[in-house]
């Protein structure tokens, strides 16, 4: 549908413009002394409005000629031909309309148009149609560009969604099977504890599934998920595993991608606490500072023994660790671009991961 015909207000404005052009034509006829005002208007207005509709047909002509497949001669021939045909038809119709004046009371045509007048109308009609063609061509080009941009934006959103979905649903199967094994062991000598652990595991997975559907979640929800996770891990590793979560109250409402903190805790246990004979405490500090949310997870690691230069580097570069961090980094980049960062710091006896991202909260 033509954009002018599809909108009543636009159509009204366009018809008004056509009527104005018709009035202009009538004024010219009056000036040329071929008719009085009344007859000039009666003659000029219907052809002006009629030609307004004819000129709109240029829209479909432009759409039928794709921009990326155009050769000069073909376009000139078609556009020129169409303008001539439209103009000829218009002038013929105008003559017929003028002739209907003889049927009236005066028994004469509305205007006494000299042949040069008809020729002028023919030329003017052709030029007007060409102008209409050009205007429509630009309009169609704009429409195409807009459509293309919209489709591109749509596909970008789709790709981003798919990427996030892929990155989010990565729960370590090792964790699941080990937890089930622990429950299997507990059932024989501590059924209550086994039940508790089953419930923690169920809660953890239920939350994980619910959160994975969302793009960003309040920190408080992520922390709740982490508490279930730590409860399970504490049953597996016993007193070896300590955790200190220091979350600033104003940070709890801040949004972050789901499963950002949990993999960091998982890494801290897998690559840090597990390798220490006496165990250790994972420290989580979350604060809001100057519009930024800072998340820091620190865990003790075995000091690199001097006899084994590579041992420390070997454990910190364990393949699982790099993958988990790369995953979080990728998700932060998708959501925040360069405004979010993840830094890893290896101190002599500690491993620290720091995340900084804009401190956004849910719009209320």
């Amino acid at each position: 549908m033509h954009p002018i015909l599809a909108d009543a207000r636009r159509l009204f404005a366009y018809l008004a413009a056509c009527a104005l052009a018709g009035t202009g034509l009538a004024a010219l006829l009056r000036l040329a002394d071929v008719a009085g005002w009344g007859n000039a208007l009666v003659f000029a207005l219907p052809p002006a409005v009629g030609y307004g509709f004819i000129a709109l047909s240029a829209y479909w002509l432009c759409r039928a000629l794709p921009h990326d497949d155009r050769r000069g001669p073909v376009v000139a021939w078609r556009f020129g031909g169409a303008a001539m045909v439209a103009s000829l038809a218009w002038v013929a119709a105008a003559q017929a309309w003028n002739a209907t004046g003889t049927l009236g009371a005066a028994g004469r045509p509305f205007v006494q148009m000299p042949p040069a007048g008809w020729v002028l109308m023919l030329v003017a009609g052709t030029v007007l149609y060409l102008v209409s063609l050009l205007a429509h061509d630009v309009l169609v080009a704009f429409e195409r560009v807009r459509e293309h941009a919209r489709r591109e934006a749509e596909s970008r959103v789709l790709a981003r969604d798919a990427e996030l979905r892929m990155l989010r649903t990565q729960i370590d199967p090792h964790f699941l099977f080990n937890s089930l094994n622990s429950i299997s062991a507990l059932t024989a000598f501590d059924p209550d504890e086994a039940r508790e652990m089953t419930i923690d595991l169920a809660q953890f997975f239920r939350r994980t599934l619910a959160l994975a559907e969302r793009e960003r979640i309040p920190l408080a929800e992520e922390v709740a998920l982490c508490r279930h996770f730590l409860a399970i891990e504490r049953r597996r590793f016993g007193a070896k595993l300590g955790a200190a979560l220091r979350i600033a109250p104003e940070a709890e409402a801040c949004l972050l991608p789901p499963m950002t903190l949990q993999p960091l805790l998982e890494n801290a246990i897998k690559h840090g606490i597990r390798g220490l004979d006496g165990g250790g405490t994972i420290e989580v500090d979350v604060v809001v500072q100057g519009g930024w949310l800072h998340v820091a997870v620190a865990n003790p690691v075995a000091a690199a023994a001097p006899s084994a230069r590579g041992a420390g580097a070997g454990t910190s570069a364990a393949p699982g660790l790099g993958l988990g961090l790369a995953n979080i980094r990728a998700r932060l980049a998708v959501l925040h671009g360069t405004r979010a960062r993840l830094d890893v710091r290896r101190e002599p006896a500690r491993f620290v991961v720091e995340i900084t991202l804009p401190a956004d909260t849910e719009p209320s």
């Binding site: 094994n181 390798g275 230069r309 590579g310 041992a311």
Partner: protein, 244 residues
């Protein structure tokens, strides 16, 4: 009455060890002689106790179950337990090595135990292949046993490896460690993209290579980052040229 089977349980999780203990308690002729919660300890206990059966977890801190086997040379009476380790499981299936997937049932446990009983004291050749191929993964760290100590050297820290009789001298920075292994066997375990055999008795880490110098009429030598000079044979030079 036959003497009791002596079993060692190796797992870093207390509950996992407890489960094996519970299943074993129903076996009248099995005696649990020890428990280890890490790989290093397991290496020591296997040497000290010489158990008939070893229940061995794969993923443990310090040393993996496969590394324990490599260091101890233990090839019989091993029952692997693992929760989920894609690489290890693939390798087990490939070499037809039995293993227990956590969580496992009493019936499955008894079946594995029964199979181990029939093979008691006999070396399983499949384990040799399994350990030699590192469960199908490229070597990431080198284990060197030095009396009571185990040195762990990350492969990226190695500058070069030199054959010295039956031993290998592993040069990493200032240290030089001796390991009892044929050079060709280690060469097969290392990533061929970073480690090049430049000479009959030398493997060089490309990352440690600083320059190639002329030596003699038409010979060459490699200068490494720790200042060491390593001879390059004619065939070694061809291999190097393909990479540098």
């Amino acid at each position: 009455m036959t003497p009791a089977l002596r079993a060692l349980i190796v797992d870093d999780e207390d509950l996992a060890r407890r489960l094996v203990r519970e299943f074993l308690s129903k076996q009248a002729d099995v005696e649990i002689v020890g428990e280890c919660d890490n790989g290093l300890d397991a290496v020591k206990q296997i040497g000290a106790l010489a158990p008939d059966l070893v229940f061995l977890d794969i993923q443990m801190p310090r040393l993996t179950g496969l590394e324990v086997l490599e260091l101890t040379g233990r090839r019989s009476g091993v029952i692997f337990t693992t929760a989920y380790d894609e690489h290890a499981m693939k390798a087990f299936d490939l070499h037809a090595v039995d293993y227990l997937l956590k969580p496992f049932s009493k019936a499955r446990f008894d079946e594995a135990l029964g199979r181990a009983r029939t093979l008691l004291g006999r070396d399983a050749p499949a384990l040799d292949a399994l350990v030699a191929t590192r469960a199908g993964q490229a070597l990431q760290r080198l284990l060197i046993r030095d009396r009571d100590q185990v040195h762990v050297v990350a492969v990226e820290d190695i500058d070069c490896i030199e054959a010295q009789g039956d031993y290998l001298a592993v040069h990493a920075g200032a240290q030089c460690l001796l390991k009892l292994q044929p050079l060709a066997e280690l060469e097969a375990q290392l990533d061929p993209r970073t480690f090049i055999r430049v000479h009959r008795s030398f493997i060089v880490n490309l990352a440690a290579l600083q320059s190639i110098e002329r030596a003699g009429a038409d010979g060459h030598a490699a200068r490494l980052r720790n200042g060491k000079r390593v001879p390059i044979s004619r065939a070694g030079y061809e291999r190097l040229k393909a990479w540098v």
